[in-house]
Symmetry: C2
Subunit: 583 residues, 2 copies
């Protein structure tokens, strides 16, 4: 039966043993009161909410979708109750500053929370998904008045937030935005323009919705350097309705419970956040966290797909398997989990899930260090590493999440293609994560152009050195993982060196292979994660026949070849790339 | 704008120049009257039907779906009209024997027809998709009475057919089927049982539906060797309604216009087709053609996704590209088709589409040779090659079709995720083809266990020799393609030799890497197709700046690395594969 069982053992293992986060917390004053047990308690509670309250609303919400009735959006049945329970549980405030009513817990735990929310119900998780970003933006750039009026209600979740960036002609290219903001005598703005793809732009979960709208002031320079950010509430401070209109809902492939709104601002009242023309800078502050959260969606889907496929494969019997585990009798058709084709699919999915959890949580851990470490150098270094990892986590985890969900679907055969089974919804829901918050192609360009090539590639070298330490310290029992990691480190170093050399003469070269570089580094991070996980199991003296070894062994034996084509293309980056003819 | 433009130039190029089918037809008496012009005329007409009549019903049919009302299924609006036009055009009879009212054209042209139907409307194409298989089965195994009563109406398309195999507990494992058939005194059968996933089991397109039902006679041996095939019509010869009941429709991820029925046979009247207990043999006769047709679905989706993505990329402007083609001015945002990330996506999709068209059509050409060549040795050899290629075409083309549709979706960004755009439906529709007609995992097992390893691998060696000839005959200008092909031939030969050696001691070894073998041979077939296509372009003296060279050059420069991980895993087939623990 389709269900969500929170992967508490794996999550604790990654946090406590692989990433050794409790030791990090002890060195950061903001987290000094936090220990492994308290963190485990938070994770356990989050899992209970996700599994018991949220997951049951997922399948029905997909069928019901959202409705637009006289300008008001109705979310699917059960969404309101789940959201109220989420607010009552204090979850919106998890990683917010205690000074404004938050719980002050690390981003790492917020990452765990969102992985679980997405596993349980991606569509629903879109509504609170923007809260933390709005909080960060407002906290860092809002005027004292705006902060006082809006921050506490955002932290508590009493009001939800929406990010209004995209317009019909401006998707990846925000410089083409045309929404205008006219300053008024009282210091407010009149905001006018049309936006599309606004998640949660209108809904009935909260009484008010705080829109953060990217727009242009009258004297703005052209392009992306002329964008300003305005706070435009659905309901004005005097209780009146602002001129914020939802014109339509997109009919989408998935996340049907999430209202994707076409919005019109008709001279709506708003207030500037941050400096004029510096709207992008104000929004980019929250970009690392937001993109990490999209990467976590890939992980959440992979976890959900994998655990359900493993359970189904232990229930369904078809055909005789060539061999079966010791002690299993050969009677009638075998459980499909004993068939080699299913074992390789499931072990691969488990290895990817476990590995990507380490990778994604590592990025969250770096964000915590970048924000809270007492040492400024450590903060800077962590910030550089987090910035480097963020596009990899966003793009690589979401691609693996979608591909993995589709691979898992295959385990159910024909049943997998039907809605009742559950997995086909995961495939549809997972697909959006490759697109929004910057398409995966934009992530690859960001990685290569802004993170790898500038500054002599110091952050990348630092990353390679940190990974190499894991390989070098590995005892002989870990040779399969350490050797694979070392080989991939060399491929990565050679590949990026070739890229750097080529880029000097041929500025297009890095862009020709940007997606390959990202995929190559994604596989490298997996190789590191598997090696680090194996080291942690060994340190804990986990017996060889413990189930946790199987995916790691599978990774070392069968999955390390996957990186080769990507690095081969990177090394060939001087080769020309053709033009595409029109019909 | 989303539309279907039949790829007539490419189709004619593959048929006439790459596969040189007209020369083959000249040597086969059954096709002696057919020439390239006549074939082109048929293809052109088929394209017109697909583009003008069928494609407009695709998007609306996806939203509307099928309805079950008091046991009767209503197909989406427009489907009936399109089907009537299809019958009026004589398309069901295209590749049927003239003796029973068919047009006697090659399977190759039927393959072209079905590629186009699927591009235009996969859901609709499911209804006539089973006609040819039912025709083959009935023609070869039906009694004279059954043939006389049903064959002409199936050939004309006046009545449609349904294949009733799967039951809730019996999917890949047909040996578990429980539907029973009781012989009656008048020579008929009473058929009783429940079937699921029956495409077109009930609908309102035709007055009668001819069910071919896999069932068990009372004295049947257990397992798949005890299955018989019964013809069970919806409407009996006396005009009365047979006890054939549709209990429900599946709510599916895609192909929503295709009625996927839960069927109940309640002592329904039927007649045996072929020998008792030999039902599987009767059905397997049509398996090569049916599986080829599923492979063609992957090709059809890839074509549709690619051509629309290329058009959209020539309309949409976002961001500045680093370079642009000669003569294109650098003003404002560039067409996204000039951005490297889009060029690599689109050229890759074009290369895959062109290459897989050659591969799939080659399989159809071999089936024609196997059925109609005057020389018995040639028929046998073609039959062995077709049997070898069939699982590769089925699984590899469908995987590429799904992955390619998803890759194309990315070109639209957020728009791609919405129904109005068209591409998300292609992704959803394409996903089923990896499952039905034998899952892709079952295809890989069939390839390795029944086609590669038995008989000393003679068919595979013959295939390698034929491909090697293409590489050896290539002039110097074709070195990039010929060298890549030669290298992959060596990888394939080494890989399969390692597999053969391992299988002697370790029967599980081939099953551990069956999917890798299939993917490796799929890539090898692509390398051959690209080399053969380049040779044809060179022979035609197509200028270097002609658009047809660009995807082929892209393939040689950027895509040949993809095969390596698969063969690496095949060479490592002696490595153990772990067991998957339950939760």
């Amino acid at each position: 039966m389709w269900q969500y069982i929170p992967p508490l053992q794996s999550i604790r293992f990654v946090i406590e043993e692989v990433l050794q986060a409790p030791a990090q917390w002890a060195g950061i004053p903001a987290f000094a009161d936090l220990d492994a047990d308290m963190a485990a308690q938070v994770v356990g509670e989050a899992g209970r909410f996700a599994a018991e309250v949220l997951q049951p609303t997922n399948g029905p919400g997909d069928l019901e979708g959202c409705r637009l009735e006289q300008g008001e959006v109705r979310v699917p049945a059960g969404y309101r109750g789940a959201y109220q329970a989420f607010v009552d549980g204090g979850w919106p405030a998890l990683a917010c500053d205690p000074e404004v009513g938050g719980q002050g817990l690390p981003q790492l735990l917020n990452a765990v929370l969102f992985e679980m929310l997405v596993s349980a119900n991606h569509g629903w998780s879109m509504y609170p998904g923007l809260l933390h970003g709005a909080y960060e933006t407002l906290k860092s750039h809002g005027s004292p008045e705006l902060r006082e009026r809006y921050l506490p209600k955002i932290v508590s979740g009493e009001w939800l937030a929406a990010m209004a960036l995209t317009e019909p002609a401006a998707g990846s290219d925000l410089g083409l935005l045309r929404t205008r903001a006219e300053p008024q005598a009282d210091g407010s703005l009149k905001v006018s323009g049309s936006k599309i793809f606004i998640s949660g732009g209108e809904h009935d979960l909260t009484d008010n919705i705080v829109h953060l709208v990217l727009c242009r002031l009258p004297d703005a320079p052209a392009g992306s350097k002329g964008l300003s950010l305005a706070l435009v509430p659905k309901v004005l401070p005097d209780g009146g309705r602002n001129a914020v209109v939802c014109d339509g809902l997109e009919k989408k492939m998935g996340i049907k419970g999430s209202a994707t709104c076409q919005m019109r601002y008709e001279g709506a009242t708003g207030w500037l956040i941050g400096e004029p023309h510096r709207g992008l800078a104000a929004m980019f502050l929250m970009m690392n966290a937001a993109r990490l959260h999209v990467g976590l969606q890939g992980l959440g889907h992979l976890e959900m797909a994998t655990q359900n496929a493993v359970r189904y494969a232990h229930e369904r019997r078809q055909l005789r398997a060539p061999t079966r585990p010791d002690g299993v009798a050969a009677e009638g058709p075998d459980l499909i989990v004993h068939h080699p084709a299913m074992r390789r699919t499931l072990l691969r999915l488990q290895a990817l899930t476990e590995g990507l959890r380490v990778v994604a949580y590592r990025a969250a851990q770096l964000i915590d260090e970048a924000e809270h470490h007492p040492d400024a150098d450590r903060r800077r270094e962590a910030q550089a590493l987090a910035a480097l990892l963020t596009p990899v986590v966003k793009a690589f985890c979401t691609q693996q999440g979608f591909d993995g969900a589709s691979a898992a679907l295959q385990v159910w055969g024909g049943y997998g293609y039907t809605h009742d089974c559950g997995i086909e919804q995961v495939v549809r829901d997972a697909r959006i994560a490759l697109i929004y918050e910057g398409t995966n192609e934009i992530q690859a360009i960001d990685l290569v152009q802004r993170k790898l090539l500038p500054d002599g590639g110091r952050a990348f070298e630092r990353l390679l050195v940190q990974m190499a330490e894991v390989a070098e310290e590995a005892p002989p029992a870990l040779r399969p993982w350490a050797e694979a990691l070392t080989a991939q480190l060399q491929q990565a170093r050679d590949g990026v060196a070739a890229l750097r050399a080529a880029a000097v003469e041929d500025p297009e070269a890095p862009l020709r292979v940007a997606d390959d570089v990202l995929a190559g580094i994604g596989h490298l991070m997996l190789a590191w994660a598997w090696c680090a996980s194996a080291r942690a199991l060994l340190r804990l003296a986990v017996p060889e026949d413990d189930a946790r070894w199987a995916p790691l062994r599978h990774a070392a034996q069968w999955l390390m070849a996957d990186a080769a084509p990507f690095w081969q293309r990177v090394r060939q980056c001087r080769q020309p790339l053709g033009w595409v003819a029109s019909d």
